[in-house]
Each structure stands twice: as structure tokens, then as C-alpha cells.
């Protein structure tokens, strides 16, 4: 006979307003085996936990059911509390009567009835819970950071500073990310390169950091503490150890017609190239698709001119396999594709550009060496129109539903800088709302208006036409209820940002979840913002949601701290909810082995005691508990029910089904 204790939480009025807690208590008390039932205003509070612990001790409870919020919130809290009172933590179940009851039903009678049903199901299940012991698994004291932008760099540096090894993997030939493309940063107007490059140098020089550039993640397996990752290090065709970064090769390269990605395609680069002057590592790569040597077999000039014999056309991709204790995702963002926004003439008129292109256009290291000039005729524009929210806050399917967060501020920055450098240029900004929550942000925006006379119009641009060497901009002025048209020399579109294309692929490899917009999902929106729901996988920077630089840096540090929390341990408690095989029944058909995604099951010829109580030798399944993650695929593949899952056993689930029906 079990002695089950049932605790019903009010959650203030969150539960109590829709669920008659007293009635739930009354109903569960009538269930055989329920030895104690009580309610409390906040079960998760110290008082609530005390109540539970005292009841466990005083009534000798053997099982506990807490009717409260989602187990995703407080299961761990309650299990810990039960353990402190001497009960095996896995003898506790949660009935989710908040998220899945009181919050979705308004009628109190209906809510109460459902809460009772959910409590009954949890009681039915908990009867069959068995005490479980978490195992131990070793922690590999090395972290992997995927993405070499400011987020990844900061996370890697913080981990490395704490004394742990970090590998930083970047897809592009150099680390630096989006921030390296920016000219100035708001609201202080620091030079972006000036604050970023020292960090890039730091991370490259740090003895604990290994950087893999021009590399991608190929495969991920394992689990927290024990991830195993294959990194594809793409062939650079240049020996990094010999190269001095002199740049002769790229000067002499005859193939110079490839759009320069770093300058957003505003100019061209050679086939062998160093991304930008401050690149880390400052080692060129050969873009084989555009290299004459690779495409036609003729050329080979770079090899001839290289003073240090660093060119190697035979280099091949290399797969590096490494084990990690934790992984940080810092895959950043890109701007959305504007082909659906035909009204702006983007791509048709060279003078309609995105704000990221504008950054390159005003950057001293950019295609125009920092001179603001039109891409069409090289003239300095006399009137620039900035359009905000291009593709942001858009539910029509052309853009993104969310606010890209950074556009208002960088548009103000770009407008202000234009007015500062070229006082004779008129600047008009079309906006829907100007959003400036942030330290010094609104002051910054007001300076643009008040000091720099940037003309802000609440309204949108409906159509742009090329007229001679001008652009005719049709727009609205919402406040004056008027339809306006104006002439401009350049239009800058504050294009919405979206997660990097690689996010989805990585999410699948890492089984980290992503939302509808491909941003990585955090484990809890408020309380675990840098953790993914997958243990040991953390989030840094814009891959989790739009952020500016300071926010990114602080999140990067937070992710590093979470990683350190794992790496500083020698072992981790493993999930005891793993599969287990009843060898007496197991027929050794090994259907389970075939479906196990972790290779945690294998067949072994063993001497087992058969159902007749006799010893016999036959093949049976054996589960490696360290590898098993507890998905349960094997339990269903097993026709005879020999394979079962701790914590979600056939008996437990059947009992739940029976209790509900």
C-alpha cells in the first residue's frame, strides 16, 4: 500500500481563480492510497516546500503528487525538496493544472473537474514510479563556440579566460562577423573596427582558444558533457603556417570579378583574397569557383608570386573530430531578401541600398574609402531618404512579423553621420514608430532631430521611380494626412534581419529547437534566456533574437558563465529516465538496436534465467545507460514489452490512460 501525498498549489489566483482547490483536495482524499492532501498559496515558496517536507516526514509518504504549474517550471524544485525530506526525487509527479488547465479554461466548474482528472492521472502514474538513481557521466573540459562574430568571440574569450579550452568555429575565412562590417556604433559613435579588432586579436592569441575559420559543423552526437563534433575545415588552398599575409597574391590575381561579400557586393574582389585588412587569421583563401587555376587549369600566378611558398592547390577539406562538454551557438544574422519588395526598386536602381551596404559605403575601408557617393554615378548624394521597417513588423508574408530592434538606432546613426560629414545633404527618415529603449538611445535620436536637423516623417514609402538621375519617392505623411512625393538621390532601406541560414541545419544537428522564424528557442523566455532546451547547448547573440552590440556582448558573457558552470564540474548527473531491458523476456530480436538514435543498445549473447527459471544462453539487448537519452523509441519497437523506459514505463503510461478515460 502506497502512502501518497497530494499538494495543490493556488499559484495565488493563477490557479485558484479557475480551480476550486478545496474541491480538488476533497476528491483526491477519496482515492485509495492517498494518505495526505493539502493546498497552499504558493507551493514553490519556502512555506510550500516546508509543508511538503513536513508531510513526507510526519505521514511517512512514499509518493508525492504536486498539482501546480508545468513540470517544466518547477519539477526540479519539488524533486529537490522531496529529496531533502528523504524521498527519492523520482517518486514525485506533477499534475500541470496551471498551463494546461486554469490558464486555458475560464469556467470554474470545468477547470475544477479537469484539475481533478489531471490529479487522478498523476496519482495513477505515481503509484508505479520507482526510485531512480542518477548516474554520473564525465565532463569533457572543452567548449565549442559556433560563430565567430562579436558574440562568439566574447563567449570564447570569457571561457578561455576562466582557464578552459575553447574551439571557435567560423564559416567565413575570417572571424569578426557582422560587427566588422559596421562603420560606427550607436549611441557613442565609436569606430566599430577600433573596438572589435583588439578582441579579435585577443581571442586569436589566447592560448586556450583554437580558431577554425572557413570551417563548418558537419555532425554532432553525444550529450551534455560528452558532445562529439565533426568540424569540416574547408581547404583554403593556402598553407596558414607559411603565409605572412603580405597580400601580393591577391594583388596579382587575374580573376577580379567576384562580388565582394564583405562589402555586400558593392565592389569586386580577386579569386584569392583576404576578407578585409584586419582579418584574423590574415591568411587568404582561394575561392575555387572563381579561380582560373581550378576552373581552367591554367594560371597559377599566386603560387609563383607568393614569397613564402604558401599556396597549395592540392589542399583538401579536413574533418576534425573533437569532444566537448558544452556548445554555444552564436550564428548571428543576415538581412532578409528584398525581391518581394518590388516597390523600392532595390536591385534595379543602384542608388537604392540596404543600410548594411550604407555602412560599407561610409566605412573608410569600404569600396569608396568612406566617401559617400552614389553607386550609379559616383556623385555625392544631395538628398538621402531612409526608410525604416523594411520587412519588419510585416505579417503579409513578405517580411518578418517581429521588430528587428536595431534599425531605429542605426538609421538615426547613419542619418546623423551623414549630416555631420556632409552638411549640405538633406536627410529624410520615414518611420512607423521610433523605438529607442536603451541607455542614451532616445537622447541619441533626439540629437539627430534637434542638432542635425534630420527630417523625420511618420509614414512609409509606397513607390520609388527612377527619373533621370533622380529617384522619385512617393510616400505618405500620416500625421498630416497627406500623400507626398519627393526627389532623392539615394534611398537607404533599413532591412529586417533574420537568423543565419545555417541555424536550421544546426538546430537539427544539435536537437536545439528553433521558432517559426528560425531563431533558437531559449529554455525559458525570462529565466533561462541563454540556455537552449537541450542540456549543454547555449545561445549567444542574435541567433536567439534581434540584439544590438552591448546586449549581444552581455548575453555572450552570460552564455560563457553557463558553459563554465558545466566545465567546472568533473561529472554530471545523468538522466536516470533511461531504457532498461528485462532480460528474462527479451527475445533478442534487436529491433530496439535498429531504432536507437544513440547507438546505446547492443545485442549480447548472455546466460540468462529464462521464464521457466532455468539458465539458458541467448542473445539479449543490453542498454548502455550512459549513452541512452531516454527517448523511448526502443520500447515501442520491442514487440514483447521487454524494453521499458524508466520514469515513463508501460505501466505508468497505461495507468495514466486508464485514469483519464
Amino acid at each position: 500500500m502506497q502512502k501518497i501525498g497530494v499538494f495543490v498549489c493556488w499559484c495565488g489566483s493563477n490557479i485558484a481563480a479557475t480551480v476550486d482547490v478545496a474541491k480538488v483536495i476533497e476528491s483526491v482524499k477519496a482515492i485509495p492510497d492517498v494518505a495526505f492532501a493539502s493546498d497552499y498559496r504558493y507551493m514553490c515558496s519556502e512555506g510550500g516546500q516546508d509543508l511538503m517536507q513536513n508531510a513526507i516526514r510526519e505521514h511517512g509518504l512514499t509518493r508525492v503528487v504536486v498539482c501546480a504549474c508545468s513540470p517544466r517550471m518547477h519539477e526540479a524544485t519539488f524533486r529537490k525538496a522531496a529529496e531533502a525530506a528523504g524521498l527519492n526525487p523520482f517518486l514525485l509527479e506533477i499534475a500541470n493544472i496551471r498551463e494546461q488547465c486554469s490558464w486555458v479554461h475560464k469556467d470554474k466548474e470545468v477547470g475544477t473537474e479537469k484539475a481533478i482528472a489531471l490529479a487522478k492521472a498523476a496519482i495513477a502514474k505515481v503509484r508505479f514510479n520507482s526510485p531512480l538513481q542518477a548516474g554520473q557521466s564525465e565532463v569533457v573540459k572543452r567548449a565549442l563556440v559556433i560563430g565567430g562574430g562579436i558574440a562568439g568571440i566574447q563567449t570564447a574569450l570569457d571561457i578561455a579566460e576562466a582557464g578552459y579550452k575553447v574551439d571557435l568555429v567560423e564559416k567565413k575565412p575570417s572571424i569578426g562577423g557582422r560587427m566588422s562590417q559596421l562603420d560606427k556604433t550607436f549611441p557613442t559613435l565609436d569606430c566599430s573596427a577600433c573596438i572589435l579588432t583588439p578582441k579579435m586579436v585577443d581571442v586569436a592569441a589566447h592560448p586556450n582558444v583554437t580558431i577554425y575559420t572557413y570551417s563548418e559543423i558537419e555532425k554532432v552526437s553525444g550529450y551534455v558533457g560528452q558532445f562529439e563534433v565533426d568540424i569540416r575545415k574547408r581547404a583554403r588552398s593556402v598553407k596558414a603556417d607559411l603565409c605572412t599575409g603580405c597580400g601580393v597574391c591577391q594583388d596579382k590575381c587575374p580573376s577580379k570579378k567576384t562580388p565582394n561579400e564583405f562589402n555586400q557586393g558593392l565592389d569586386n574582389r580577386s579569386a584569392i583574397y583576404i576578407t578585409f585588412a584586419q582579418a584574423v587569421p590574415k591568411v587568404p583563401v582561394i575561392d575555387r569557383e572563381h579561380c582560373l587555376k581550378f576552373q581552367t587549369g591554367k594560371c597559377g600566378i599566386c603560387e609563383k608570386v607568393c614569397p613564402s611558398k604558401a599556396i597549395d592547390y592540392t589542399q583538401e577539406d579536413e574533418i576534425i573530430t573533437q569532444k566537448y562538454g558544452a556548445i554555444v551557438l552564436a550564428t548571428g544574422f543576415e538581412t532578409i531578401d528584398l525581391t518581394k519588395f518590388g516597390e523600392y526598386q532595390y536591385g534595379k536602381s543602384k542608388d537604392v541600398i540596404t543600410s548594411l551596404e550604407f555602412e560599407r559605403l561610409t566605412n573608410a575601408a569600404g569600396p569608396t574609402e568612406g566617401h559617400l557617393q552614389r553607386m550609379s554615378d559616383g556623385k555625392q548624394p544631395k538628398h538621402i531618404v531612409f526608410v525604416s521597417c523594411v520587412g519588419s513588423r510585416d505579417v503579409s508574408g513578405r517580411g518578418k512579423e517581429y521588430c528587428s530592434k536595431i534599425c531605429c538606432m542605426y538609421t538615426a546613426k547613419q542619418a546623423m553621420l551623414t549630416r555631420e560629414k556632409y552638411p549640405d545633404t538633406d536627410v529624410t527618415v520615414f518611420y512607423i514608430d521610433v523605438r529607442t529603449p536603451g541607455k542614451g538611445f532616445d537622447e541619441f535620436y533626439r540629437r539627430a532631430v534637434e542638432e542635425y536637423n534630420v527630417h523625420y516623417i511618420k509614414g512609409q514609402v509606397g513607390k520609388i521611380l527612377e527619373q533621370g538621375d533622380h529617384l522619385l519617392v512617393y510616400a505618405s505623411d500620416a500625421l498630416s494626412n497627406s500623400h507626398i512625393s519627393l526627389e532623392a538621390d539615394m534611398v537607404v532601406l533599413a532591412t529586417a534581419i533574420q537568423p543565419s541560414q545555417d541555424a536550421k541545419k544546426l538546430a537539427t544537428m544539435l536537437t536545439a529547437s528553433i521558432d517559426n522564424n528560425n531563431f533558437f528557442t531559449e529554455a525559458h523566455a525570462k529565466l533561462r534566456p541563454v540556455e537552449s532546451p537541450t542540456a549543454g547547448v547555449f545561445l549567444s547573440g542574435v541567433c536567439q533574437g534581434p540584439k544590438d552590440v552591448p546586449e549581444t556582448v552581455s548575453q555572450a558573457g552570460a552564455a560563457a558563465v553557463k558553459v563554465l558552470g558545466i566545465l567546472s564540474k568533473d561529472t554530471l548527473a545523468t538522466n536516470p529516465c533511461v531504457a532498461s531491458c528485462n532480460e528474462r523476456i527479451c527475445s533478442g530480436c534487436l529491433a530496439c538496436e535498429n531504432v536507437c538514435p544513440y547507438g546505446a543498445i547492443g545485442g549480447e549473447e548472455k546466460t540468462v534465467i529464462n521464464l521457466n527459471g532455468k539458465r539458458e544462453q541467448r542473445v539479449v539487448s543490453v542498454v548502455n545507460e550512459a549513452l541512452c537519452q531516454g527517448c523511448g523509441a526502443c520500447t515501442v519497437a520491442c514487440p514483447c514489452g521487454a524494453m521499458d523506459l524508466n520514469g515513463f514505463s508501460n505501466k505508468q503510461i497505461t495507468a495514466e490512460v486508464d485514469a483519464i478515460c
Binding site: A30, P32, N612, G613, D658, A659
Partner: protein, 342 residues
């Protein structure tokens, strides 16, 4: 002796049915089985054997015994009513009639099985003599006269006439109720048919099959015989033989539980099953050999020993027809008969 012509059978069945629920062999979906007669039922009196035996009527595969209910911590029990409707089992062959003798020895002995007893007492058995025995028939082995099968009433089907003879008070009572439908008949046809049937039986492959008297006599030797291994090797441990057998009578008692209500029922069980008698912790007969041996030892040795020599087999031949791998009591008894170690 009385008789009734085919033309009036429909009236006969209607009249019998008025006296109680009438079970008779009828064809459903290509198979002949005892079925409750209704207007339009396809009665088949030609088939030598029904697929399932008459046992199903008296000792159904599933029978609810009682219900109980919990209300909070209170428990209330509700006994199921005993089956008290009057029934008539019509067209029962000699072998099946004799199977009652076997079952009665089990269920009517102390402790009496109230459900079986009630069904038995409320039933009038109208037997039907065999006129076309099959090669699987061996009732003669157990001294059962298929041409004079007994029961409360015996009937013979000769040509288009069904001859009728009451044997017991119960039979006479039933006969009186339907007297109006019956005419006087001449025994000559019946006698001729009995003679012809016996001649056919003599020609069948199992005509001379007798159970060696040493089998019931030499219990220990039989039990330890080496022959069981070879015989049981090919047994599948299914229980087709048990469930079609008119004399097998083991059952298991189980609970069906939903929420706070429980239905307690009994259902057939078989000593051939691995999970037989699990309620007593384990099945003591862990190997197929032991289980296989148990069934035949019970039928041929233990049962006769406890019941004045009556074998728990009536030679209906159903197991000969239904065993997936053609194992059967005849094969076993013959093998034991010639076995050197018995």
C-alpha cells in the same frame, strides 16, 4: 416411438423455442455451430459435428461472476444472478451428450459450480443419432453408441422424418408440450439406419482403436515414458485442442477494472498455456513436454483414476480436425500403447 416430418420442423422448432431458448446446430458463415434458433436460422442436422462443442452453452468461454465497486474507501459487492432461463439443446450428438457426464463429475461435485448447475438443471437435452460418422470419430472407443445417443430425448433422422423418443421425465414433459406436432412412427427405419451406421463405422480408420488398459493402470511408467519428448517436440503450445474439446474444463478468474468498478469474470484456460495457473505464483509445468503430458495424463490417467474409470475424452474427434500440427489424443494413446517403456 414418435416422428415428425421435415415439413413440420419449422413448427417444431417454434414450439420448442416457446418452451425455452433453443440451441441447435445451424450454419453461420460456412460453419456449423450451436446457435440460438430464430425464425430463419439455417438449421443443419446433417453435419456430423459442430465446430465448437455444446460445452459453450453450459460453460461459456466468458462468464461474469460478480461486480464490485469502490466509493472512496468503501467497497460494495454485487453478486451476478444465476442463469435461470429454460433452455433446450437440440441435435446433440452422442459424444457431446456423454461429455456432460464428464463435466458433471467436475462441476456438480462439491464444491458445486452454481452457474453450471443452474444451466444444466434448466436445460433439456434432445440428442440426435449419428448416421454418417466421419473418419475422425472414435466414440466407440469409450463405449458410446452414436446411433443411440441418449439425453432427455433421443432423435433419429431417417429420410425426411425425425423420429422422437423421450428417455427421462424431463424429456417426457417436453414431449407432452409438443405432442400435437408428433405422429406415431415405426421403429423399423431407425433400426435399419442404426445397423447401416455401425457397418460404416467398422470400415473407418479408427474402428479398432482402443486405449491400452495399461495406460490408466501404469501411472508412473506412463508419466516417465520417453515417448513424451518426441510427441511434445512438435506441439505449438497453443490451446486449440483445449478450446474445441467438449470435456476440457479449466478456467481462470480475472478482474476487469475501470476507475472504481470491477467486473470479476471467469474464462477458459488451458494447461497447454505457458501462463496456466499463474495465480498460484507460477506454472509448475515449465516445459512444453510437461504441459503436453499433463493434458493427456489428465484425460487418460488421472481423470479415470478419480472417476471410476471414466476417461476425460468422448471421441468426438475435434482435436483431430483442429490441431495445427496434427497432434491428437489418438496419436498419443497409440504411441503410449506401443511404447516399450510403458
Amino acid at each position: 416411438m414418435l416422428k415428425i416430418n421435415k415439413a413440420k420442423w419449422a413448427e417444431l422448432f417454434a414450439a420448442l423455442s416457446a418452451q425455452g431458448t433453443l440451441y441447435l446446430p445451424a450454419e453461420v458463415d460456412g460453419k456449423v455451430d450451436f446457435t440460438v434458433w430464430q425464425d430463419g436460422t439455417e438449421v443443419n442436422l446433417q453435419a456430423t459435428q459442430t465446430a465448437k462443442s455444446i460445452k459453450n452453452v453450459f460453460f461459456p468461454q466468458i462468464e461474469n461472476l460478480l461486480d464490485f465497486k469502490t466509493d472512496g474507501l468503501k467497497l460494495s459487492v454485487e453478486q451476478r444472478m444465476l442463469p435461470e432461463e429454460d433452455t433446450i439443446a437440440f441435435g446433440v450428438r452422442g459424444c457431446d451428450v456423454c461429455s456432460f457426464e464428464v463435466l458433471d463429475k467436475v462441476f456438480l461435485k462439491e464444491p458445486v459450480d452454481a452457474f453450471y448447475k443452474a444451466r444444466r438443471e434448466h436445460c433439456t437435452i434432445v440428442s440426435l443419432a449419428c448416421s454418417a460418422p466421419d473418419e475422425t470419430c472414435f466414440c466407440d472407443t469409450f463405449a458410446i453408441d452414436a446411433t443411440n445417443p441418449g439425453g432427455d430425448v433421443t432423435t433419429w433422422l431417417v429420410g425426411d422424418d425425425l423420429f422422437w423418443q423421450a428417455n427421462t421425465d424431463k424429456g417426457k414433459e417436453l414431449t407432452e408440450k409438443i405432442q400435437a406436432l408428433l405422429a406415431e412412427g415405426d421403429e423399423a427405419g431407425v433400426n435399419a439406419q442404426q445397423k447401416a451406421t455401425k457397418e460404416i463405422m467398422a470400415k473407418l480408420p479408427l474402428a479398432d482403436f482402443k486405449i491400452d488398459p495399461k495406460i490408466p493402470a501404469e501411472q508412473e511408467k506412463v508419466f516417465n515414458s520417453a515417448i513424451w519428448k518426441q510427441l511434445s517436440d512438435s506441439c505449438l503450445s497453443c490451446c486449440a485442442c483445449t478450446y474445441v474439446c467438449p470435456t476440457c474444463h479449466c478456467y481462470d478468474v480475472r478482474d476487469f477494472e475501470i476507475d472504481n468498478k470491477v467486473e470479476r469474470f471467469r474464462c477458459w484456460d488451458s494447461c497447454m498455456c505457458k501462463d496456466f495457473t499463474k495465480m498460484a505464483a507460477v506454472n509448475p509445468r515449465v516445459s512444453r513436454l510437461e504441459r503436453f503430458r499433463q493434458r493427456y495424463m489428465h484425460k487418460l490417467v488421472y481423470f479415470p483414476e478419480n472417476n471410476e474409470g471414466t476417461f476425460a475424452c468422448v471421441g468426438c474427434g475435434r482435436c483431430l480436425q483442429k490441431c495445427p500440427v496434427s497432434l491428437n489424443i489418438v496419436k498419443v494413446a497409440k504411441a503410449l500403447g506401443v511404447a516399450k517403456d510403458v
